[in-house]
Symmetry: none
Subunit: 252 residues, 2 copies
DNA sequence: GCATGTTCTGCATGTTTATGCAAGAAATAG
DNA sequence: CTATTTCTTGCATAAACATGCAGAACATGC
């Protein structure tokens, strides 16, 4: 286990969960707590985290905003969903990846040896993909919306219009077998629609609470979903509806 | 086994797995660890990887930051520069912020109570600003260049062309009183030029080692610099040149 | 063929770095 | 306030590292 690996793990973990515990890290790495503390000290010196009694928390307010939205349970679930979701990927494909914490988890779960072209309007997804050498990354700029963590607006739409993708990882939406995919915000919905239009297939990874919910703005028809990644706890009646409409169901 | 074969294998392995171990490579190649270390040294010198204790990891955009931060000195210097640099800001202004670790430090040093409109092509800067509620953030998308940590290309240029800013925080460049501001990459220089053209003033925060260096591509004339933030160790002769050309010098 | 110079490699050396342990200081919880 | 946990510091050890040197492999020129 390289020192650098531990540092990387700590960074990732902080971004994902908003905190790390010294003891927990020590047992996970198989090193003494002293070593972990040294790691934390170095990362703190580099400004990459802030040490607290018992462990460390992110230094940037960025991750702090996302922490509140995440309970410890949801993180594990999302990581499981993400691992399964990347299973639909194939090397050489072009992707749109939308915003949302689940999509961020998916981006982080993409293996290093897969060659992809990815266009995203999410800063968090872009950050995650910035570390993958084989991923050609296209950032879809525009007006950044803090609540969504993504860029929207005319510039974003124009950038999307120039691209075509094999798959579109659509996130943070309502999902309903009759109304299809829906979004809470008009501008957000516009961008998602553009991505959906320019993609050959839509992939949605959704925690159970997202199922059978609807929001005001329509993004895609229910039969546009090609892959649906869900937890085992998802109600089978809803899944049956989507399956009838042509979606392939993947259980995480 | 040719040296080049080993190098290629190391590159591939690094891309696929994100790390290599010196001992492991030695036994796989059937050579001594010394030879492997020599290989790693050469590849590191060529910028194709970053050596760490025990092996090597890919050279990432943050790797440069991490490695300079590791020394401890540079990061503190940059933070000092950043604190002074944000002093030229005024609430209500519109900014372009370029890439580079110094600009990232500046972005992180912006106080929470300043209202700004900021356009940036750097993912790291965007991440930093995502946490500031009073900052209207515009992400300049495009093709992401891993080595720079920024977006470049036609899309980026088009997005810049639509905007005008009061100040342009220009980063990661050569700086010379006769040749002006210069960049190492053609596409990078193009974006910087566009930002410079659409800004009322240029701000450069540079560590001493950046002064009196030049790169191939011209970005801006030496008299285009309005604010120059430097360390106290900066040679006064160079500063005098820039001051004569109209720059205001700020010491950190 | 032979000599020469270059490059690559492995070994021995001394140095640096990472790690764990122990003891005392500091922070937190009851 | 006291007990417990967590943290820092100094130190010892083993691993990883840089360096200098010598031999082997190789190409080049005579």
């Amino acid at each position: 286990m390289l020192t650098e690996e531990r540092h990387q793990f700590i960074r990732d973990r902080l971004a994902a969960e908003g905190k790390v515990l010294a003891g927990e890290l020590a047992s996970r790495f198989g090193v003494s707590e002293d070593t972990v503390r040294r790691d934390l000290r170095e990362l703190a010196k580099a400004g990459q985290l802030r040490r607290v009694y018992g462990g460390a928390v992110p230094s940037a307010p960025f991750a702090a905003a996302t922490i509140s939205q995440r309970s410890g349970h949801a993180v594990e679930e999302k990581m499981r969903l993400a691992k399964v979701a990347v299973g639909v990927l194939a090397s050489g494909q072009t992707l749109f990846i939308d915003g949302g914490t689940t999509n961020e988890a998916i981006a982080r779960a993409i293996p290093r040896d897969v060659e992809l072209t990815v266009a995203t309007n999410s800063i968090a997804v872009a950050s995650a993909l910035a570390g993958l050498p084989l991923v050609e990354l296209i950032v879809l700029g525009g007006r950044y919306v803090r609540d969504l963590g993504t860029c929207v607006g005319g510039d974003t739409l124009a950038a999307v219009a120039q691209l075509g993708a094999d798959l579109f990882f659509l996130g943070s939406c309502g999902l309903d077998a009759s109304r299809g995919v829906t979004a809470f915000d008009s501008a957000e919905a516009e961008v998602k629609r553009a991505m959906a239009r320019n993609s050959a297939g839509i992939v949605i990874a959704a925690t159970t609470d997202k199922l059978a919910t609807a929001a005001p703005y329509r993004v895609a028809a229910p039969d546009a979903i090609r892959h649906l990644v869900v937890e085992k706890t998802a109600p089978s009646t809803i899944l049956a509806d989507f399956e009838r409409l042509g979606a392939e169901i993947h259980f995480a």
